[in-house]
Symmetry: D2
Subunit: 365 residues, 4 copies
């Protein structure tokens, strides 16, 4: 992870000076875009208004469109959310010549090595060292600055002793929102209620009738009515979901086709689940994604590659993606979340070393 700083566009430059204002076309039918709509990216973007001023749209994400509201403010919105009468930007050029500038080149790394021939030039590899100290510092710094750190996690975190470590991060203020699916909550609660995960003991051994354990956990919560109620009535006394309820950390459990149950808290409609997720991504100042292809790519889609910090201006949004294989991280980048820094390791080992690193950082800091 090299240091990256942001250099804003030079708006005095001729091309940008002479560029027309962004052209808009009016939506005729709810959820249907005009031909030639401009498709957004997650990179810093500037739109030229009728007054000749360039401004950044709010709530940026990739795969959205640019909508001008009655006050002249630009917003990035999903196509399904546009309404008849909305003014949508059209155009394809990203160099400003049609009134929209995508300024990815604004992020400039310091200290790159010279020359054409290097070993280890791949971006993601299990053979690269992991700088836990740097990640730990970032988390400690986010906490100090009152940032908004999203944790996006898959069930591998729960199958294992990583669970205790995630609880520790929640309890100590490093998690501002937990974005996950039914399985994370089910197996976490299975561990709390039955004592197994996916029917395995914590040593990884199968148990008798273990295949039913997660269903008993689901049923217990269904009986209570919700996770929060199950915490209150004493059904759930430990674990990740317990910590979220007790510490008032919001969570989004987005449903999927493979869910058993599901738990009452799971949002089964995907449109609603996306809206609930995006309510967090627009506030994010950092994202940690661990061992989940589905949720990492989903959140990556909705996550800008930068945010506007009151003190520091435009900064890159640090995105850490942890998985046992290079493939997921590469796939995440291939789906546009190019800013993701890949950590190729086992999820439970990641959690255990990161926690130790954060504890050390806090002590020393």
């Amino acid at each position: 992870m090299t240091t990256v700083r942001y250099v804003p566009p030079d708006f005095s430059n001729d091309v940008l000076q002479r560029a027309p204002a962004a052209r808009t076309v009016t939506v005729e039918r709810d959820g249907v875009l005009p031909d030639g709509f401009f498709a957004t990216t997650n990179l810093p973007t500037y739109v030229k208004g009728g007054d000749g001023r360039w401004s950044m749209p709010r709530e940026p994400r990739m795969d959205g469109v640019l909508v001008r509201d009655p006050n002249g403010t630009w917003w990035v919105r999903e196509g399904r959310r546009v309404r008849r009468g909305d003014a949508i930007v059209v155009g394809r050029a990203e160099d400003g010549s049609e009134g929209v500038l995508v300024h990815g080149a604004g992020f400039q790394a310091d200290g790159a090595a010279h020359g054409d021939f290097h070993f280890m030039s791949s971006q993601v590899s299990r053979e690269k060292p992991i700088d836990y100290r740097l990640i730990a510092r970032m988390l400690v710094e986010e906490k100090r600055r009152e940032g908004y750190v999203l944790w996006v996690t898959g069930p591998a975190l729960v199958h294992s002793r990583a669970r205790d470590n995630l609880v520790w991060f929640i309890r100590n203020g490093y998690v501002q929102a937990l974005l996950a699916g039914n399985a994370v909550a089910v197996h976490d609660i299975e561990a709390a209620v039955v004592g197994t995960t996916l029917g395995m003991t914590s040593e990884g051994l199968p148990t008798e009738n273990g295949h039913a354990a997660h269903m008993r956990a689901i049923n217990a919560v269904r009986r209570s009515g919700s996770i929060a109620q199950a915490v209150q009535d004493g059904t759930i006394t430990s674990g990740i979901m317990h910590a979220c309820v007790v510490e008032d950390v919001p969570y989004v459990l987005a449903g999927s086709l493979r869910d058993d149950g599901p738990l009452p808290d799971v949002i089964t409609d995907m449109i609603a689940a996306q809206d609930a997720t995006r309510a967090h991504t627009v506030r994010a100042t950092m994202a940690v994604m661990i061992a989940t292809a589905l949720h990492s790519i989903a959140v990556g889609n909705m996550l800008p590659a930068y945010y506007d910090d009151p003190q520091r201006g435009i900064v890159e949004l640090p995105t850490i993606c942890v998985d046992a294989s290079e493939f997921l991280v590469s796939k995440l980048k291939d789906r546009g979340t190019h800013q993701a820094v890949g950590v190729v390791t086992n999820a439970q080992d990641f959690m255990s070393i990161l926690r130790a690193a954060v504890e050390r950082e806090v002590q020393e800091g």
Copy 2:
């Protein structure tokens, strides 16, 4: 793939003779199960009725419960679908001693090798030969017998020339239902409408503004109103979805959190999507799962490991799982779909060789 035949339980056996009828408890609240409910597996299962007769429950799947309807017929049902007043089997024993027998040992392979020490004893490996001829024969045989073959596919099939081959299988009667997600349809339609997939040409090169291509495809279908209407009005003139519409092959497009759009045909509520999927799994006589973790595991959850064939009695339900890595197939098995036969290869290569093998089989047969 060794030959497997089914040996039914010996019901004259003492334990089974003396076993009590399965005990049921009445549901008190919709969607909440009684304590100690029996959790089903995907293996051949027999329930003893009050009349002392053992019978197999209908619509088997794993992670369900056993419900007796007013006529005394047993059904496997998801917990969320039970209603106040339903009679649910309780018990944990799977050996018949509490009135439920799980008879996985009924499937017996012929011709296993003797001795303790072998090479290549792992179940799934890229180093094992793939018997395309056998898979081709199974497909040809299914067609002859008028079986019901499910194809469960991920977008890797569409990113590539595999698309033409899947169209061929649809057009020639080898596909009875297509189970996929938004992305498969989007990229297929992107190829039909814009000529790219994920913005890449068919040679894998990026195109200018290619990142918007899939959104233009989605918008085109949203304008038409549905995929079928887009086929009718000439918006979509080729590809997988086109072939399904023209050939009247049913499809389920189940939503997920990472969907762009989505297309109007996508079922965004996961409960509805599971019900739509299960309407096909209860009819399945074979399943081919290609390059999708989410949908393979989801369908695997709902798919029995066997079915009752009018001519041949209980037979194993052939389940082929194709992926570039051993991990998916192992994971599918680890989630209970133990009957899956893994093929570790590239999805597009699989399709191309399998099609050639089927064509040869048809010619020779």
Copy 3:
């Protein structure tokens, strides 16, 4: 890892009583075996002598043959090492009926779960918990018992901060022999001499002219004459190889086709390298294999699955195999090293957590 105990064969059993002595045929040409030779496995094996007594051959390994020496002692030997006049056992039966008994069934696990249907039944998966405490205990126990622990390592250990941890294990008496290749030593010495590994800094960044760094390290040792001399003359002052020299821990650096240099200590002839390696495998009481396909499989080939402990009799030889992907461990098993316990994680994370676990074990113990 379930507890495993060994139950010797019941030699009073009829088949074994009536079995003939093992039949031998005399070798006619050096390195060429008689037709029908018996091929050994790595499992506990007994050979019946002319006197009717069953005894275990010495220096067991897979892919060898059984040779009787003039004193009537049986040895396992590689085919290339047999000499004209040697008496070689012939036969194929492994059940004792031809005088050779392979007793793999002797190892019996306690506490397996009942039932046909389980989740997580695969043997190797990133989704299984890793029991670091158990591995730590085994290492502490080996040290107490003065066992002989082989460490087989690939260069991923050196690319990263795992290097310091391996030095710690060497310095503290947990490593009785280091089996590796040229690259491990080269990159370790590159770190000592130039300060990079494969030209990367410890943060994973490329350095100017970094691709030449490993060659400068090799050249420095070639100038000194050997690694030991380079330690003595102050060229190498830290790292893995330095610790081995200082602590008198033997190492085998086996050459391979991809070696740069190589270092003067590398055994470039593979026959000589196998002999040097086997001198350690015949003494092994435990093996830890980390992030190397080539050396893990090579050592696995030469390693018995058990050894005869003076106090405890026949015990399984614990073999831990660590890799970032399930594939290597499965491959190791597929090549016959079935006793290997797989740990799917990043090598540097493994080292860091294992060291902490051993330190805790020592403190508490």
Copy 4:
């Protein structure tokens, strides 16, 4: 695979004009380099002589040094091969300023897409289409031009029906040299002599005493004396090695620590094996690497990224690397073989589709 053309350096440019001749230092001891030696890459390189002329060194490879022979010709040579009195280039600059120019920028791709934001920007992915037609054309073209195509293969090619296809490529003149290890030959000959590979049938089933099959194959060849003699005396009547012998295609079987046997033809000393391999890499006009990490990286180390074609001047040396996982191809690139084009698929499927594509190309062409 975009079209790439080579633009030579502009030697009239000031920096290159004013650059001094490359400075050399004399070797004092065999195999020990002078401090500050220049380390070569596999990219087009020019050295300035005392006469002010820039010329390309002969037999280029990475990780070598530049030696001037008495005639003033420059050679790339491995450090271990330098001899007392040799004149070796020193310096680190690759921009010509010290008399050595590494001109990697000379290869320029046409038709790259504009803009900062793309999907699928990773270089190697199972999700990218494979252009078999292009690879087929390259092979057909190489044959027409009498090129020198190296095939570097691992045993996965032999475990499977890929064997027949490799035989077809050898028989039809598409293979100028086969670079492999003991295992490829052993399992190929096992298939010829015993009918199994690694003891499996061609359907992937284990056979009785199958673990000994490869040892019987090795023993048969050891009895004959060599592979060629075993072909002549009728021991080997089919397969890859048989085709090489009959078609007079040279092969290098480089030994490794994990070899059983080995076969008499295996070069067990790695220095000798590297020399034998390099005799082919210096002639190569194309390389196809399939399913082998060890041999792909080894050959990649010795292979230039370009060659000088009498008709076409400097051209990129096409290097195709086929593996079931992205990791190998990325690793190959990380070890400097940046020109490798990755094909992520199963080796046997690759062979079968490529053969069909070549047959079609020949028919149509």
